[in-house]
């Protein structure tokens, strides 16, 4: 059944059945593979995307339920200044190891900074508590978000 979804600012036609999730449609049909499938149960956070500006789990969002919503994936944030600062800081502080969690963490961090421009360390840790990372021990990820926030200050 064809469905029109607004993804990264463009209307994309996708095929979706009742149980197809946004994650499956993004990855298998639109080949937007930044959002990753780590658990398909909404726990790991590797599939985090923005839906109407709020970070949500693509694996727990039915494609059929996303009609009319504005969906933004990491691929759609390449020209976003705040995301550019995050990417630069993640690279510089060693916050990326295997990189499988990175897209989800970046989307959550981007959303965090969009409503709290200068978060304390504990606020960053709370904001990212829904994104699992098994490689880094989180410390450099949290430092990178703080670094990106500092960079944004005029």
């Amino acid at each position: 059944m064809t469905l029109a979804l607004s993804i990264n600012g463009r209307i994309r036609q996708v095929q979706a059945g009742l149980s197809d999730t946004l994650l499956t449609v993004l990855r298998d049909q639109l080949l937007l593979t930044a959002a990753k499938r780590g658990c398909n149960q909404g726990v790991c956070g590797a599939c985090t995307v923005l839906i109407d500006g709020r970070p949500q789990r693509a694996c727990l969002s039915l494609a059929a339920n996303c009609e009319g919503a504005a969906i933004t994936t990491l691929e759609g944030l390449q020209r976003d200044a705040s995301m550019a600062r995050l990417q630069k800081a993640f690279a510089a502080t060693g916050a990326v190891q295997c990189g499988f969690c990175t897209p989800g963490v970046l989307v959550s961090a981007h959303a965090l900074l969009s409503h709290n421009a200068d978060p304390r360390t504990d606020e960053i840790r709370a904001g990212l508590s829904g994104n699992l990372c098994r490689c880094s021990g989180y410390r450099k990820i949290v430092d990178a978000v703080a670094e990106a926030a500092k960079e944004a200050k005029p």
């Binding site: 990855r27 298998d28 930044a34 990417q87 990189g99 490689c135 021990g137 450099k140 990820i141």
Partner: protein
């Protein structure tokens, strides 16, 4: 990076970080091929049963199904790192719940999964063996009836349900008589799941001649090639194994998972087949950290000098040997810890059970034996009223000492590691630590460790292209630990070129030199040495050309930063790598290629010093050292432990990339904290009861301390690349032991079993 900046020692971003932060990095699940089919497997419902017959008719009737394979479609070929005891799919018998019994390839994933469920299998159930003790019972059912006939790479002593046994003894047992204090205890650790964030998967594509190209989540393209060819009875040359980006491994992708089945499905259908495990299948089918049962005795003089230790371990190996014999042997090899003992005896038995195979997991047995050994040193210190770190400093291995069994220790920075963590943590004033709130108990404790970096074979090829830039090819898979970047830095440093002038070729069994694998903290040291040696060959060829171009003796030449070679002391007499390479390509000598192959050759044991029985690896070494201090708090209401701060120092010989070294120490600490405090795979009878991330929980940002201070100590390893040793595992080894030591100080109670859940701690506090 400017031409003059150093490569080795620079905290450079990862070579591949751009694609990772832009979401363009491609992992196995992100690969799509034209005409690709999807695979799925059916797991065994029984822990131990004979397979009587299959009925695939219902499965074949599912629309879109191209192939349904069962054990009958696979030859009687077996694979296994130490004992060749494993088919590519269950054949004749199932040995753990979830073991793949049938596999399907179909147009869609849904059709494949439905068809896999519809394969009906008739079983004859056998008694399930669910513990090592049950496996050793005289009348126990035998899991591998023909274990005696399996090919084994060392003298395993396999018999009945015993997969292997190992023992290592050094010194004179009479040392026990000289001990003023002896502590003894039984300890138990729990199965831990790797939870690499990327589930295992593979994509196999046959060509017209039946040769298969196989991408998969792996830690060694050469182990994939060996395991797939052995288990399918294919010549290795018929397989080309490649690697996409890998979403972490920690050991669970070192040996095979779904690759052999994916290749067989591709051959059966003549189509590319992609098979990605669900998170739940990854928990149930692949492998996990060995639960250990230990009996340990440690004796010391009244001044705290360590004298003797005996360690006896019993390992649940699960249904197949996999890396277990290695884990058994290595845990015994590391069981003294980094200390001098006059008498040391370590022995152990590995048994088969009807659970999923237990295998390699960061630390490879060291965390398990350290959980016992490092607590006993604290117990001795407490009994003698001595500072636990002082007791360790008194008996620690010193430069020039040999390891247990006689292995040579190149460099040893343990003393500095202990000094640095003591200073950074305010160890001397640890008694003054105040709880952060009423109703809490606070304590600081420590533990020390060592780990190896050198074993087995590797190689490197360094090619200079026409324009003088460099392509490095090592066959080492970067599973996220940063080896691509570190090896590139080593090569750039060796040839004094900016790092951007060196490109690393992705591992490919067709073109890369052999590399045993990304495991045992070995790649920086073992492969790094091959890179330095290969670069040296390139340097020789460059200087040969330059001596002819500049009409001088090659010995008078030096490499200069930025890709130039010139006469020592004559700044303007130089030529660029570009000019040298052009000459080599078009006029003299031919293209410049440097190659080196090596295997780690230092013996693990000196027969004159120690008696070894069933040691699974004759040549390992290159020791790194570490010291850890933790500051914890215990909530007296619930028994819940919170780690507030940690200081983890490691002697890594030379930090090729300090950012990556810190990342390994911090990541290992938090993964070790999960092992210490709450991670546990729980069985409900024969079934894994928590094979989902809803029920198996790993630490989040809010469970991990922000203050994890990683401290780099550098005691250069004589033959290490620029002095470097390994760092991948050392940061996890003593996290459970240090936390248990801190809990013992806070509560005056010793914890002999992991994990230290609120329940276990509260019971101990209340004496329940």
């Amino acid at each position: 990076m400017s031409a003059t900046a150093k490569a080795v020692g620079a905290a450079l971003p990862r070579a591949e970080v751009r694609e990772k932060v832009e979401g363009r990095a491609q992992y196995i699940a992100d690969l799509y091929r034209p005409g690709m089919l999807h695979g799925a497997v059916l797991g065994s419902p029984h822990a131990h049963a004979r397979i009587k017959r299959y009925d695939t008719s219902e499965a074949l009737a599912v629309p879109g199904v191209h192939a349904v394979l069962t054990g009958d479609d696979f030859g009687d070929h077996r694979m296994g790192a130490f004992v060749k005891d494993e088919h590519a799919i269950a054949k004749g018998k199932v040995r753990y719940v979830g073991e793949p019994v049938a596999a399907v390839a179909a147009e869609t994933e849904a059709a494949a999964k439905l068809a896999a469920r519809l394969v009906s299998v008739e079983y004859e159930e056998l008694p399930a063996i669910l513990s090592p003790e049950a496996a050793l019972a005289p009348d126990a059912a035998i899991i591998h009836e023909d274990v005696a006939s399996y090919f084994k790479v060392f003298d395993t002593g396999s018999t009945a349900n015993v997969c292997s046994r190992t023992s290592l003894t050094e010194g004179d047992a009479a040392a026990w008589d000289r001990c003023d204090v002896i502590v003894e205890g039984r300890f138990a650790t729990q199965p831990q799941a790797h939870v690499s964030l990327e589930p295992c998967g593979a994509l196999a594509e046959p060509d017209a001649t039946g040769r298969v190209t196989l991408w998969s989540a792996n830690q060694s393209v050469f182990r994939v090639q060996a395991n797939v060819s052995e288990s399918l009875g294919l010549p290795m040359a018929q397989l080309r194994c490649l690697t996409p980006r890998v979403g972490a491994g920690f050991g669970n992708k070192m040996e095979p998972h779904i690759q052999p089945i994916a290749v067989k499905l591709a051959l059966a259908t003549g189509r590319p087949v992609k098979l990605i495990l669900t998170r739940e299948e990854d928990f149930e089918i692949v492998r996990a950290r060995h639960p250990f049962k230990l009996r340990v005795r440690t004796g010391a003089l009244k001044d705290g000098t360590l004298v003797a230790r005996e360690v006896e371990v019993l390992l649940d190996g699960g249904a197949y040997a996999d890396d277990s014999p290695g884990v058994l042997g290595y845990s015994l090899f590391m069981s003294p810890g980094p200390y001098r003992f006059r008498y040391m005896k370590a022995s152990g038995t590995l048994v088969y059970t009807n659970k999923l195979r237990f295998g390699a997991f960061r630390g490879f047995g060291n965390p398990q034996v350290s959980f016992a050994g490092e607590q006993q040193i604290d117990e001795i210190a407490a009994r003698l009223g001595l500072d636990p770190l002082a007791v360790r400093e008194k008996s620690m291995l010193r430069p020039g000492d040999k390891w247990f069994g006689g292995a040579e220790v190149g460099s040893n920075g343990l003393e500095e590691c202990i000094a640095r963590v003591k200073a950074a943590s305010g160890w001397a004033k640890r008694a003054e630590l105040e709880p952060s709130a009423p109703g809490r108990k606070r304590a600081m404790a420590a533990a020390c460790t060592a780990h190896i970096s050198g074993l087995l074979a590797t190689g490197a090829i360094v090619r200079m292209l026409e324009d003088g830039s460099i392509v490095l090819n090592t066959g080492a898979v970067d599973i996220g630990q940063g080896s691509d970047t570190a090896l590139t830095q080593i090569c750039a440093e060796a040839l004094k070129v900016p790092i951007e002038r060196v490109r690393l070729a992705s591992p490919d069994t067709d073109g890369s030199p052999y590399n045993w694998g990304t495991t045992a903290s070995r790649v920086t040291y073992t492969t790094g040495r091959a890179v330095v040696a290969a670069a040296l060959e390139v340097e020789k060829q460059i200087k040969q050309h330059a001596s002819e171009m500049l009409e001088c003796d090659a010995a008078d030449l030096e490499l200069r930063p930025g890709g130039r070679v010139g006469i020592v002391g004559v700044p303007d007499k130089a030529v660029s790598f570009f000019e040298v390479s052009a000459r080599a390509h078009w006029a003299r000598g031919g293209p410049i290629i440097g190659h080196n192959s090596l295997v780690f050759e230092k013996p693990s044991v000196d027969p004159k010093r120690a008696i070894a029985v069933g040691l699974p690896f004759p040549q390992i070494g290159a020791f790194a050292f570490g010291a850890l201090v933790v500051d914890i708090e215990i909530d007296e209401t619930t028994g819940k432990i919170e780690v507030k701060r940690a200081w983890s120092a490691a002697d890594v010989g030379r930090a090729i990339n300090p950012l990556a070294v810190e990342g390994q120490l911090e990541g290992a600490f938090v993964q070790g904290m999960g092992l210490a405090l709450n991670e546990e795979m729980v069985w409900d009878g024969p079934r894994l009861a928590n094979p989902t991330l809803m029920d198996y929980k790993v630490p989040t940002t809010l469970d991990s301390p922000h203050e994890i201070h990683s401290i780099i100590v550098e005691a250069p390893e004589p033959d290490g690349p620029f002095g470097a040793k390994g760092v991948g595992e050392i940061g996890i080894n003593v996290v459970p032991a240090a936390i248990a030591n801190a809990a013992a100080i806070a509560l005056g109670k010793r914890f002999n079993a992991l994990p230290l859940t609120p329940e276990r701690v509260l019971r101990a506090m209340l004496g329940k």
